[in-house]
Symmetry: C2
Subunit: 479 residues, 2 copies
């Protein structure tokens, strides 16, 4: 990470909101693999870029990534070696941003009364990280003075996909008093706003002192405030998870925008211009990825013949587009999306249909990340399943057994160290081994290059949940 001297670094805390339902970027995102985990802009995921961007500003132990449910594990694997595990905080379930920020504020304020919180989503794109760091430094004094600073992006077009902030008079610190928040406008209203001026896109990035946000929560969301105040003593203790579990059952979902920002008189907007996008739909890729001479965004194995203004993303197989205009084609191992760009924001409708039909394509991606590497499902049959498994060098799966399935392993690259029952042996490239049901086993990559194996599972029940873990170096639950 780049080391940048940051004013206020000692008491600056990063609060990254990493919830999400995985609908907007379906089929690349799934319920179990939402947008922030996607490697859309390169080798790193949006979450990893978010963490990296904050690296020069905030100490690792001052990070807090708020997530929910199973996504907790994905956050851990994607921040492994960069942030301490304690940086990850799981809500029992997502209840929109107000409860998440209240939780973060109470927790941080308990440790550090002078804390300044920099709150942001985990799945946005910022082209110019230095500009972002500058903006944080400029906003720090206003935040320290007790203002709730929102980052307002200087608009570059009459975008209808963002909310707007109408700025009022200039404050001494350089920010503007907020006159009003404006919901996503229609095109005519957006044109009028841009013409009128002094408006900014609402980025959803905030900076305030823990003290100030708590005070405004108390004033404008008193029920939420007092609910958290009652369990404050448990925060950061062994009783925290239980207390949150009970508390969250009683909470109404609410956004911080509606609950506090639109009500409070302490809100200012800091004008920023660091190449921001919320990547709100497939269309947004046009802003952040390179286009060819016909305005197509092409990622992976795709051929654009007489096509223009289209977004083509392949996960492997060839997409051949012929005469397309302003279309979106997204290919993944088990599902393809095809729609006009103007309908990309409606992908939710497809996801809702899949969800109500109980279709797996809604929940699981075919390639899943694990702390030891990843696997892809190549084919599923009625009583067998073929996986391509890739273990990072030195990675080690848990010592485990399955009740209902046997596993054949064929090494296609690298060397495997296998524990099977009491035996320990090596399996080399082009060799195979077999694990019978109920036999304790462990797979390890002792080598220096990735270990790739093809696994053929066979049995009457092939779900991931048929796993009994006896020991795990990644701290997952064992029996």
């Amino acid at each position: 990470m780049k080391k940048t001297a940051a004013s206020g670094k000692r008491n600056l805390y990063a609060v990254i909101m990493a919830g999400g339902k995985g609908t907007r970027f379906w089929p690349l995102s799934r319920e179990n693999f939402p947008k922030q985990f996607l490697r859309i802009t390169g080798e790193k995921s949006l979450l990893q870029h978010t963490v990296e961007r904050l690296g020069g500003l905030v100490q690792p132990r001052h990070f807090m990534i708020i997530t929910a449910g199973k996504q907790n594990e994905l956050v851990r694997w994607q921040t492994d070696g960069v942030l301490p595990p304690a940086a990850i905080l799981s809500e029992p379930e997502g209840k929109n941003t107000a409860p998440a920020i209240a939780l973060a504020a109470f927790r941080i304020h308990k440790k550090d009364k002078d804390a300044i919180m920099l709150v942001m989503p985990s799945d946005h794109h910022i082209k110019n990280p230095d500009g972002f760091a500058d903006a944080v430094r400029k906003a720090a004094p206003s935040a320290a003075e007790g203002w709730l600073v929102t980052f307002g992006v200087v608009p570059t077009r009459p975008e209808t996909g963002y909310g707007y902030i109408q700025a009022g008079k200039k404050m001494p610190g350089g920010a503007f008093k907020v006159e009003s928040f404006i919901e996503k406008p229609d095109r005519k209203t957006a044109d009028a706003l841009i013409k009128k001026g002094s408006v900014y896109w609402n980025s959803g990035i905030f900076m305030f002192s823990a003290k100030a946000i708590l005070s405004e929560l108390k004033a404008h969301m008193p029920a939420l405030y007092s609910a958290f105040a009652k369990i404050e003593k448990y925060l950061g203790t062994a009783k925290e998870a239980g207390a949150l579990e009970t508390l969250y059952k009683t909470l109404e979902p609410e956004s911080i925008d509606y609950g506090v920002m639109e009500q409070s008189r302490k809100v200012v907007v800091q004008a920023v211009d660091f190449g921001w996008s919320d990547i709100g739909s497939w269309n947004a890729l046009e802003e952040i990825l390179e286009k060819d001479e016909n305005g197509n965004v092409i990622s992976g194995n795709a051929l654009a013949v007489g096509s223009k203004g289209s977004i083509l993303m392949s996960s492997g197989r060839l997409i051949a587009s012929l005469g397309l205009e302003d279309m979106v084609v997204i290919d993944t191992a088990d599902a393809i999306l095809v729609c006009p760009k103007e309908r990309a924001q409606d992908v939710r409708k497809v996801v809702d249909l899949l969800k109500s039909a109980g279709r797996e394509e809604y929940i699981l991606p075919r390639t899943e990340e694990r702390p030891w590497g990843h696997f892809s499902v190549l084919e599923k049959g009625p009583s067998y399943q073929i996986k391509h498994i890739c273990l990072k060098p030195k990675a080690r799966l848990s010592l485990q057994a399955h009740n209902h399935r046997s596993e054949h392993w064929i090494v296609v690259s690298g060397t495997a160290k296998v524990q099977r029952g009491e035996e320990v042996f090596y399996v080399h490239r082009n060799e195979s081994t077999y694990i019978a049901p109920t036999v304790k086993h462990r797979l390890e990559n002792p080598g220096l290059i990735p270990l790739k194996i093809i696994e053929i599972q066979s049995g009457e029940h092939l779900g991931e949940e048929d796993i009994v873990r006896f020991d795990d170096i990644y701290g997952r639950n064992t029996v």
Copy 2:
């Protein structure tokens, strides 16, 4: 096959032209798997339907399927048990329809001076086979009298994708003298033609006596005629293949339409109406497959959300279409085509690009048919390849060896009988075996249900051509 009493059955010969480059129905069709082999309309391929349709009219030993190059094997496997192997005649290379028909005419006339030939493509669709049989019976007298009968389809719309035939005066046999052949018209011309009347679509289906077509070939394509006349003595003998090999190198490609039909004064058109389509592009599926209430043709795993007039074909994975209008989306294991319907006829451009780039997606389908069943490539890596292999009951691969690859086999369904070197043993479901390079081996399905195995090949060279056959029950070349 339906037994229909057919007049002239004793001397009626079916000549089925089964060439094709696999471009129009890419990515489902490939150079090595052209349209006639596709099972577009159901369980049977277009070729199989063509053979079946003729079954009641023509004796099996009076069939001649003219094909070229490697497609010869596919024709054999798809007609196995229905037609004798001698029914298949390979041209050394495709030179359009005139040489193919000349070859058929010389060959048939050599055996049967009174032969009537019914010549047709292998990849058309005919909705009403009884109507087709009626048309053949009605045309027989004209053909026997020495006319070249073309089947002219009563047009149902001003189609611009077909050539037209302008009919003249009615003949005693019920056919019409042909006034002129009209190239594929533009829309305006097509409208005018339909309005004018007495026009028919040129189906490319012909009926004539061998004697008559030979006489017209002699008159209008004298070079072609005399080239074949010179090798007539070799036709049907062991020297035939060699003679054709030499002859074909000297032939110019030419269509029978241009070379004979448009020149001859002996051509009549028989009006027919049996639900014909040449299935000339993806759009034609609208005419022959069922549509949903929004006019979408959907085949396989596809979801049409707010979509209309579109053609969606999935080979497995989910196609989610959102807001599509008049689009074509075709998914196969290794390539997807997306284009507006009005551009479907330009798929050739994509294929040309792939061809010039030497891309495999142009040549090979991921699923290939074999006489013993079929296999699909699930994944290819730099030095391994995973295949799903399916053997029909009682099927038996050749006794073979590979120089460069080893093979792991895992049985996922059925029971395998394996010969490996001198050993013979059975491999049951969920068991595996290993074949080292250069070891002679044979795989057999001794059972009553399909045998499904997953094969992982490993080695430095994985092409299908690395196979040495020692014995083969399907008559393929052995060492």
